[in-house]
């Protein structure tokens, strides 16, 4: 049995691992099989992470996080958690390969998942012109006209990035004010290849084997228009990834995990949350990293407070690392 298991491998998960490992908690980090590294793996230049005055590539930053966590003894598993039993003194974490790991504490840092438009044709044309990842798919829209839907930082970043390939990038936003930071807005507004379409929502995506156009509805007068594009990049935000803990952890009305005050403590003793999964507001790499620190320190504090016999079960050697399902 472990002292702590960390679920998630974004800035929150890896920072929690760095702190937990340095506190000799011998952490096991479940990184996911295909999304290891989290959201920043799909970004390019990260210019607002302190310590990198010239900026750093998102995947390079995450490789550095991982290396730092491993340097202090974090063990990393590239698999997905399929179920969690969080109640009781000993928490059980079941993985896709069938392994079951046990721990006295769990730090839940699963981040968030892209929000979908919720249109019928979205799923059908996903991968055929509808995309959630400009850095992955932008390359295929060389000299094409495409659209980005959304008004936040990620929409501005995607639109700006896509101008490297596309002839024209429309940014469709449902209101007339953008949520994006001033820097990101200005960069997009000044880009001659980007055209903003305000007060419109995407109601239809047209095309058989590939996207050919969009049906837009005006949010002020309800009028309908069409827009000919061969790609649609969806950047309308993300929802906390909490399906593994429904029925166990308390969830706020906004979908984030409920924690006590400024701590990372959930409603179950020994279970802590960190990063975007509990943050409805800031959602930055650096705030997630800070949140991971809080969770590791809270876990350390909790482990110091539990009966010595219980703690001894997680620190006694030798212990089998895993028990089969």
């Amino acid at each position: 049995m472990r002292q702590t298991i960390i679920i998630g491998s974004g800035p929150a998960g890896y920072t929690a691992a760095i702190y937990a490992a340095r506190a000799n908690l011998n952490p096991l980090l479940i990184a996911s099989s295909v999304e290891a590294g989290g959201e920043l793996m799909k970004t390019t230049e990260v210019e607002n992470y302190p310590g990198f005055p010239e900026g750093i590539q998102g995947p390079d930053l995450m490789a550095a996080f991982q290396a730092q966590a491993e340097r202090f003894g974090t063990e990393i598993v590239l698999d997905d958690v399929t179920s969690l039993e969080l109640r009781g003194d000993v928490k059980r974490v079941t993985l896709g390969n069938g392994d079951v790991h046990e721990a006295l504490t769990v730090i839940f840092a699963t981040g968030s998942a892209y929000r979908k438009l919720g249109l019928e044709d979205e799923e059908r044309l996903s991968g055929h012109g509808v995309s959630w990842c400009a850095t992955c798919d932008g390359f295929f829209f060389r000299k094409k006209n495409i659209a980005v839907v959304g008004g936040g930082d990620s929409a501005m970043e995607e639109a700006t990035f896509l101008t490297k390939f596309a002839d024209k990038v429309y940014v469709i936003h449902r209101s007339h004010t953008l949520r994006a930071s001033k820097t990101m807005q200005d960069r997009a507004l000044e880009n001659p290849k980007i055209e903003f379409i305000f007060n419109k929502t995407v109601e239809h995506i047209y095309g058989d084997g590939a996207v050919t156009g969009l049906g837009l509805v005006d949010t002020t007068d309800g009028s309908e228009t069409t827009l000919d594009v061969s790609g649609l990049f969806v950047a309308i935000g993300a929802d906390p990834r909490t399906h593994l803990v429904h029925g166990q952890l308390d969830i706020n009305p906004d979908g984030t995990i409920a924690v006590e005050g400024r701590s990372s403590r959930t409603n179950i003793p020994g279970v802590f949350a960190a990063g975007d999964v509990l943050d409805p507001t800031y959602r930055q790499a650096v705030t997630a990293a800070g949140s991971g620190t809080v969770a590791a320190l809270d876990a350390e504090h909790y482990l110091a407070s539990i009966p010595k016999e219980l703690l001894a079960r997680a620190t006694a050697l030798p212990e089998p690392e895993t028990v089969s399902a």
Partner: protein, 108 residues
């Protein structure tokens, strides 16, 4: 690094379309994070079913003709070819059990 053969615009006909085996083609690029994530999983699946399928890779940066021909607009894209025809397409990085389920019909 993957040990799968790199197939190009020039060799696609011989290596994939004319092959008498089932060929799983992984369309990928250096700059695609999810491609890097799914690559070792495809290697594992191919190794575990070496008698059934052969895995090859197409770098879309270097081989835009083939990528365009198969209308690739999102990677990773995995296409399974049998007798020169696509019999199954999967888009996006997925965990191993999900990919095994996608290709189950051809792996048994």
């Amino acid at each position: 690094m993957s040990t799968a053969k790199d197939v190009t615009d020039a060799s696609f006909q011989a290596d994939v379309l004319d092959s008498d085996k089932l060929v799983l083609v992984d369309f990928w690029a250096e700059w695609c994070g999810p491609c890097r994530a799914v690559s070792p999983i495809l290697d594992q699946i191919a190794a575990e079913h070496a008698d059934k399928i052969q895995l090859v890779k197409v770098n879309v940066d270097d081989n835009m003709e083939i990528a365009a021909k198969y209308q690739i607009t999102s990677i990773p894209a995995m296409k399974l070819f049998k007798g020169g025809e696509v019999v199954k397409s999967v888009i996006g990085a997925k965990p191993k059990p999900a990919l095994e389920a996608d290709f189950a019909e051809w792996l048994k």
